[in-house]
Every structure is written in C-alpha cells, then in structure tokens.
C-alpha cells in the first residue's frame, strides 16, 4: 500500500512540472505585460518595476528563478495587488471558496441522495420520473444559466435572498444551490442506480423472506451498498466543487479564489495566475490521489496493476 502511494506521488512530479512549464510560457509568450496597460507611467518607473519583478531578465532565467523560488515554497509578490504576496492572497481567498464548496457539497448530497433513493424505491412511477427529469435538467442547465435565473426569481422578484455578496448567512444560499445543483443531479442518478442494484440482490430477497420490514430492508441492508457509487463520486465531486466555482463566484461576487483567478487572468497578473493555477493543480492532484488510494483500498486489483 505504501509503495502504491509513493509510486502515485512520484507520478505527480512530472505532471506538476508540465503544468508549471506550460502555464509559465503560455502567459509570458503573449504580447503585452502586466504593466503595459498602466497609463502615464514614466519610462524610469516602468524600468524599475520590470527590474523589481525580474521581468527584464531573459525568459529562461525568469523561468529558472521561478522554479527555484517555487522549490522554496515562494510564489512571489502579486503584480497588481502588491499589498500581499500571492501565498497570502490564496490563504485569504481560498477559505471562502472552501466554505462555498462545502455548502454546495451539502446541497448536492442532501438533495441528490433523497431524490435518488426516493426514485429507486418507487421505480417507474411519478416519484421516479419527476426527480429523474429534474436531474436531467440539473445536468443540462449550466450554472451560469441557473445562477442568474435563481437571482431573477428569488432575489429580484420574490426578494427572499440578496442578489450578491458573501457576508450574511442568507447571502450563501443561492450561490451554494447554484454550484451544487449539477452535482446533486449526478448524485441522484448514481444513488438511484446503486439502490436499484442493491434491492435486486439475493440478500435483500432473503431479508424480505425472513419478514424484515421494508424500512428495515432499506435502512439496514440496502442503504450502505446503494451509496457506494456516490462514495466513489465524492472525490471528483469535491475537486470539481473546489476548483470549479469561477462562474458562481463571479455571478454572486463571492470574494473567493475562483473570482481572484479570473481577475488575475484579465489583469495579466503573472505571479497571481501562476500561483492560483499551481494551487488548483495541486488540489486536483491531491484529490486524484485520495480517490486512487480509496479505490486501491477497496479493490486490491487496482493496487497490483
């Protein structure tokens, strides 16, 4: 097991290296620099700025300097928001995205599991068709459509929730639902399929034959097994929720890392882009690793292949 984990960890090194290199050259090969758009900056100041941020060095020198700093865990200062370093910005913004992601995960599990199990217990009736049609809608309707429509109905017309912001508890309802909806839809489909499979098993038939009540059958015998597909989905879902909130944060003006990344991309804030991309990449790789470990733990064949 330890060897498996170490091997997977070693495989991440080249992936991470590719991401660093790709991002670094992508953003620097493009015309225009972070200070190109600044109005009325005297020649001398511009020169000092470029010197300070190491932008006057040849590209390959900048690249190796960046790698060296990165090896020391230093992501450098932000070009456009110099009050904090990139690491400090991430430390400030990421907890917001994390909170949003957790709420969205809660929404996804609560609605998804309930809908999925309900549908599985009464297959091919209205209790099955209605939630499953909604799940199809949840998968097909993108969050940048769902978000504005929710705002329109619940914030502007009914005035139940604020339009945007992230201070009060009620601010957090609409963004969490918007982000969680698609995942709720997947959870519903997965848990329905899992539950149906469990209910068709021999041990469920045996339990019923022994006279266990329907509630008992579902709760004690089928529930855990029926949730297995959802458990394996949790890894990718968590990664997706944490790294996929650009749009939701932009719509609802949530001060999270996703919005920071989009702004940095528009502002050509080199170090901030690099920092957030690497942070996101690290997160995704970490969640991949966790999923692999869980799978290897559940199924020894994965470990040996």
């Amino acid at each position: 097991m330890l060897r498996f984990v170490l091997r997977r960890l070693l495989e991440f090194v080249p992936v991470f290296f590719i991401i660093v290199t790709l991002t670094f050259f992508l953003i620097r090969l493009a015309p225009g620099g972070p200070f190109a758009a600044e109005r009325a900056v005297p020649e001398e100041v511009l020169k000092r700025l470029n010197e300070y941020y190491n932008l006057d060095a040849p590209l390959y020198v900048q690249y190796f300097d960046y790698l060296r700093d990165l090896a020391h865990g230093d992501l450098g200062p932000s070009f456009k928001k110099p009050t904090l370093t990139v690491s400090e910005w991430i430390a400030l913004r990421f907890p917001v995205s994390l909170e949003l992601g957790l709420y969205a995960l809660g929404v996804a599990l609560l609605i998804g599991l309930a809908a999925g199990f309900l549908a599985a217990l009464r297959p091919n009736t209205a209790t099955d068709h209605v939630p499953m049609s909604l799940a199809m809608a949840g998968i097909c309707i993108p969050n940048f459509v769902l978000g504005p429509l929710l705002v329109l109905v619940f914030a502007l017309w009914l005035e139940w929730f604020p339009v945007a912001g992230w201070d009060l508890q009620q601010d957090k309802v609409l963004p969490s639902i918007t982000l969680g909806a698609a995942y709720a839809a997947y959870v519903a489909r997965l848990s329905r399929a899992g539950m149906l499979e469990m209910l068709a098993q021999d041990f469920v038939r045996t339990a019923r034959a022994k006279g266990v009540s329907e509630t008992g059958v579902v709760l004690r015998h089928a529930l855990w097994g029926g949730m297995q597909p959802v458990v394996t989905f949790l890894g990718p879902a968590a990664a997706g929720l944490l790294t996929g909130s650009f749009v939701v944060e932009t719509i609802f003006q949530v001060p999270g890392l996703g919005r920071e990344f989009i702004q940095a991309a528009f502002n050509r804030d080199y170090t901030m882009i690099m920092g957030t991309v690497l942070f996101y990449a690290g997160l995704i790789l970490l969640f991949n690793l966790i999923v692999d470990i869980v799978q290897a733990w559940l199924d020894p064949r994965v470990r040996l292949s």
């Binding site: 080249p14 199809m136 459509v145 504005p148 749009v247 996101y280």
Partner: protein
C-alpha cells in the same frame, strides 16, 4: 413462429446494424423529440441571414430595450438590436463552435486512439500513459489562460476546445480497436496480405463507428457548453458578434430591468443542450444496446 422456410429466410436477410439502430432510435421518444428540436433549431439558424428582417448588429438607439411585441417577437436589447435575430445568429456561432471543435477532437482522438490500439505493446502503453497524464491537467484553467493571452478569436477557440476534448475519444477508440484486432475478419485481412494502413482505415476504424458517433453526439453539447462558459466570462466570442453565452452574459448585466434579455437565450441554450443529450443517450442505446445507462 411457424417453421416455414420462406419467411425465415427473409427475416434473416432482414436488418443491418444501421436499420436496427434506426428502429430502436425511433422508438425512443425523448431522442426523437431532441432530434426534432435540433433540426428545427439548426434550420432556423442556417436560414437566418436570408430570412431575418433585422441585422444582428443593426442598432436602433431611439427604440432602446423593449419587451417582446409584434415587431420584435423576443424584444430588443439596450441598443435596440432585435433579440430573436441575435439569438439565431448566436446559434450559428454556437453550433459552428460545437461542430468544428468536435471535428478537431474527433480527428485527433480517433487517429491517436486507433494508432495506440493498433500498434499495441510498448507504444500503446506509452501513448496511453500520456493520455492519463493529460487527463490530470486542469484543462478548464488552461483554456481560460489560453483565451486571455492568445487573443479571443474563433479559430483558436475551436482548436483549444478540440484539443481538450479528444482524450476520452482516444480511449474509446483504442479500446474498440484492441478488441476488434483479435477478430477473425482482421486475421483474414492480415493473411490476405493487406497493408497495415488499409487494415486500420478500411477495417478497424469503420467498425468502431458506432461508439465514435455516440461519443460525438455527447461531445457536441460539452463543447457548446464550454464555448458558452468562456463567452459568459468574456473570454469567448466578442461583441458585436453574438453567441448564446455572450447573450446570457449581456442579459445578466441588465437582468433587473429587462429580464427577457437573459431568459430567452437561457431557454434556447438549455433546450439545445437537453436535446443533444437526449439524442446522444438515444443513439447510445440504439447503436450499442449492451452499454448501460450510466
């Protein structure tokens, strides 16, 4: 069911895979509905330049933004541009991106996957390792960076999205080719002395068409979604051109006063994605009855 030889023979001559699939597809109401919606939508988008009484960029500042009415069925935006016209023109762009980027991913994915599956052995494992590694890259993020820095032009958008979406296609085709390679008709082709290129392009790839078509129909909505997502962030199609993502983005900005500007493009985009997904699901069930629902 009677043991009369005549009808038996006819039944055996009966249905090719294509006919079989077509029959199964027609029985799937969701897929037929989706297909119908798509045909109507595509038709309207194609004929728009000859039919629409307005231009997609013609402004009418005196009119401004008006709610749906007889002259403007879906209303107009703040610059007095007819929304229906802009939605249909946007549809041209969205569909074009969908088809073109899917074609790019098809080209790369099929070639790569077929080669890996056909060559097998060391080459195959190296090629698939590369796919595995690429899978772990945060592609949405890289596409965002690409669009910010390399300018926001359409061709680049096709290439960028196509380059992201080919990975799954490569895996599917490789699996298909691997399993076909051991079939008798391929062995026969080898024995007959056909060249490797001929075997690959005349026998292996055509016989993998079913899964390829299915995955294509499922890639198109993903691609259109990605385009809309980028345009929504202001990184895709630029004004005065229009695309559904861009229209939604513009609509959101004035949602409070002119809700129709966000509602109609949203409905059209969602309806299209719905239809494509239903059609894709239906095609999968029709072409590959063994594949499960999820």
């Amino acid at each position: 069911m009677d043991a009369q030889p005549q009808p038996m023979l006819e039944a055996e001559k009966g249905s090719s895979l294509g006919q079989d699939a077509w029959r199964r597809l027609r029985q799937n109401r969701a897929a037929v509905g989706g297909g119908g919606v798509l045909i109507v939508m595509l038709f309207l988008c194609v004929i728009t330049p000859w039919m629409a009484p307005y231009s997609y960029e013609a402004q009418n500042l005196e009119l401004g933004s008006v709610a749906p009415r007889q002259a403007h069925w879906l209303g107009t935006d703040q610059l007095g541009r007819d929304l229906l016209t802009r939605i249909l023109y946007g549809g041209r762009v969205s569909f074009m991106v969908g088809f073109a980027a899917t074609a790019v991913s098809l080209l790369i994915g099929v070639t790569y996957g077929a080669l890996a599956g056909f060559l097998g052995g060391r080459t195959d494992s190296v090629m698939m390792r590369v796919v595995d590694i690429l899978y772990t890259l945060p592609f949405t993020i890289l596409v965002i960076i690409l669009m910010v820095y390399l300018g926001r032009n359409l061709v680049l958008l096709f290439l960028a999205i196509g380059a992201v979406e080919w990975l799954t296609m490569a895996r599917i085709v490789r699996g298909q080719v691997m399993s076909l390679r051991k079939k008798e008709f391929i062995e026969a082709a080898v024995v007959l002395g056909y060249s490797r290129r001929r075997i690959l392009f005349r026998h292996l790839i055509p016989n993998s068409l079913g899964p390829i078509i299915v995955y294509c129909t499922l890639t198109i909505p993903q691609v259109m979604l990605l385009e809309a997502f980028l345009s929504f962030l202001g990184l895709g199609v630029q004004a005065p051109m229009s695309s559904w993502g861009l229209l939604i983005k513009e609509g959101v900005e004035t949602m409070e006063d002119f809700p129709w500007l966000v509602v109609f493009p949203s409905i059209v985009l969602s309806l299209t994605l719905f239809s494509l997904n239903f059609l894709g699901d239906g095609l999968r069930d029709a072409l590959d009855p063994r594949a499960g629902k999820d």
